[in-house]
Amino acid sequence: MKEKLVLIGNGMAGVRTLEELLKLAPDLYDITVFGSEPYPNYNRILLSPVLAGEKTIDDIILNDRAWYEENGITLHTGRTVVKIDRRNRKVIADDGTEAEYDRLLLATGSHPIVLPLPGNDLDGVVTFRDIHDVERMIEAARKYKRAVVIGGGLLGLEAANGLMAQGMDVSVVHIADWLMERQLDPYAGELLKRSLEERGMKFIMPAVTEAILGDKRVEGVRFKDGLEVPADLVVMAVGIRPNVDLAKSAGLYCERGVVVNDTLQTFDPRIYAVGECVQHRGKTYGLVAPLFEMAKVAANHLAHLGYARYEGSVTSTKLKVTGIDLFSAGDFMGGEGTEEIVMKDAGHGVYKKLVLKDNRIVGTVLYGDTVDGAWYFQLMKDGTDVSEMRDTLMFGQHHLGDSGHGGENAAAAMADDMEVCGCNGVCKGEIVEAITKKGLFTLDEVRAHTKASASCGSCTGLVEQILAATVGGDYDASPKEKPLCPCTDFTHQQVREAIRERRLTRMNEVMRALDWRTEDGCPTCRPALNYYLISTWPAEAQDDPASRFINERVHANIQKDGTYSVVPRIWGGVTTPAELRAIAEVAEKYQVPTVKITGGQRIDLLGVKKEDLPAMWADLNAAGFVSGHAYGKALRTVKTCVGSEWCRFGTQDSTALGIQLEKVTWGSWMPHKFKMAVSGCPRNCAEATIKDFGVVCVDSGYELHIGGNGGVKVRATDLLTKVATPEEVIEYCCAFIQLYREEGWYLERTAPWVERVGLNYVKQRINEDDEGRRALYQRFLESQKYAQQDPWAQLAQEASEKKKFIPLKQVV
């Protein structure tokens, strides 16, 4: 029989936990949900746009009733749980409905604070918390004119803005000297006040409310200094208080919130709690991003996985008032031991402040230009040392040199019809629409629904910016180290280490040892695991063709029409008339429609039918060719210039060195494709400084360059070192490749890998540690014994393999 799970509180935190749980363990529980409100789960943070008339209630529903039905969840809306009977493990609602539980999840959220003032129970005094409140405000706006909002914080200003949009005359009463004092410093608060005043909002501040006036309906507000203002509607938006009433009555330990540990359990281990009602390590949260982090952890434990921990959240804030850009995070006030970088441009209404401590960002306030908010926030969360970019930090991410296209454009400044994802033709407007309409919070969700950044990934930074700009502080920033794929919570690094340390040599062993969630893995993890196994254990591990992408299975590149392209290896790009004649004959014999010179100085035969591949390979083999691996996560080509043999500027024999390098390294499987080049002089005609490993010959020897890329994100190489002889070039090159093979993550090119581990680390391992370098070199040569066999020759000769290239049956 299934276990029973009851959720009290049908809001964003609780339902998100259920969603995460259903992903992990869809059939573990019979689930029952109680919600006091008469609606299914909706996006509470979008209530302000509903009030402002920019959205309807239907727009903000996150899970409709059909979702609950599809997942077999019993939903009781409009019913408030009034008692938890812990002894008999059941909950009882106000209408008498009961539900038993094996585990209970509390997500009771928070109450808006109602000030203990005379007159706070008059008609026309409302709080701003749920759909019902919004409906009351919209109704009041139809009949009445004058509104007073008590509270100049985030919520109060959003309410005031919404009421103005509904046509009311709005005054905001605030107790502090400046607006949003918990998110802004005085200067930013002043800028905000000014721009809201320009829109017609009035402010009474600093002021303390003494009483709400009126007989039956509210008529005005009186302050401590005696001032009275008339009002037909009073909105109290002075803050929220965790709703702990039910938990307290059940005898669970509460302070300000329901106290939970790092596994989000209350003092009764069968009872979990998430969301605004929770107090964790002394902190309570009122923003959505932390709630989602909690939801992930709680789901992990409810699913009996039991290894995730919640360690608290760092939060940021964004005001959802159309036309006002404001971002705040961390310790934005600064103080003892901190430094500030400030930019003020009052004329343009721009203000930026970064608070640094020990060369790390600890807080930021941005007003008027918040494009880089997400970036600063990420630097802050990661604790990145910013000393090297301090000079340009204030001007934003796109002012950092060498960033290619990755996030260069300012998302906020883009028009809706501007293309974001060039691979899949997705415009900014489509992404924003998907985010708001479908309630997306993560990069993965945006990828799944829009395909933006789902192909080459070069627009990922931009999509993340749009996501951050659209949902603000609620944006669920992806962690720096992501799980390898949805089948596991382990990262690439953890999986690699487990394979090595626990001597795992087969894929099913890895999946079993690391508790893979799926029987079969998926198209993301299987190729990665296959690579990790064969690169770690070249002699022991068996290659699994079913876990390779088609190109590596048939040793050719699949094309859009299902045909293939074939690239014979031409060592160093140097060929002969006889070789060219052989290629020409093969091209004619198999009626190859297109013959093209590739970017890597090879010849590409395009449009070959799959069943012709084995015969074609046999013919090419006969002429002395082997596979060019133009399809593989492997050495592609070594591009060369003619060098000292012909060129009047050449300093060394670059072609001979290129050929030698290619002959040593071909056939080796790597985390991603790997390109090399050898230039005969610093004029660098072979473009060696945008390759994974490039050699630039000089008169006195050979400069070795690493980590370049000419593709998605252009990156010039870093100089590794300079050596004197071709033998050293070979040794350093192989050692570098082996280090990358052993430590790079699958599908990570050398450019991001070098940036991740740092150039100094690579120098240490290759330049400074002679013994270590030679050991890497030896390990590379050893693995080449298993890898350096021509796959074309192997496949073309084995009848059972050859069969797979032809149809199983021809039906006439």
């Binding site: 079913a546 149809p807 021809q810």
Partner: protein, 108 residues
């Protein structure tokens, strides 16, 4: 009317792989999954006609080799949020390991 034709033997189809049957109306991909079940579908992804037979097979799904759409082998439907469907065909294997495919009475 249903018409079953012999297309080959179970061991001719690689585990977590597929083979193609060529018919006058186009290619049919016959998949063999990790749990040794067989499925037959039109060999054309609903997205951009990619040859599904060349995709990576996992659970009862295949990932199209062109743009990584995932297709359910049992129903032929694309895995959400992608939308689309390919035609499926009945396929069976006898106790002796002979695989038969039914082309005439195609499931919708």
């Amino acid at each position: 009317m249903s018409e079953w034709i012999e297309i080959g033997r179970l061991e001719d189809i690689p585990v977590r792989g597929a083979r193609v049957v060529r018919t006058p109306d186009g290619e049919v991909a016959v998949f063999r999954t990790g749990d040794d079940r067989l499925f037959a579908l039109d060999n054309r992804c609903p997205h951009k006609d990619g040859p599904l037979s060349e995709g990576i097979v996992f659970d009862h799904k295949v990932a199209c080799p062109l743009h990584n759409w995932k297709i359910e082998l049992e129903t032929g439907s694309a895995v959400a949020p992608d939308e689309g469907c390919v035609r499926t065909y009945p396929v069976e294997v006898s106790a002796e390991g002979v695989v038969r495919l039914c082309l005439a009475q195609a499931a919708a």
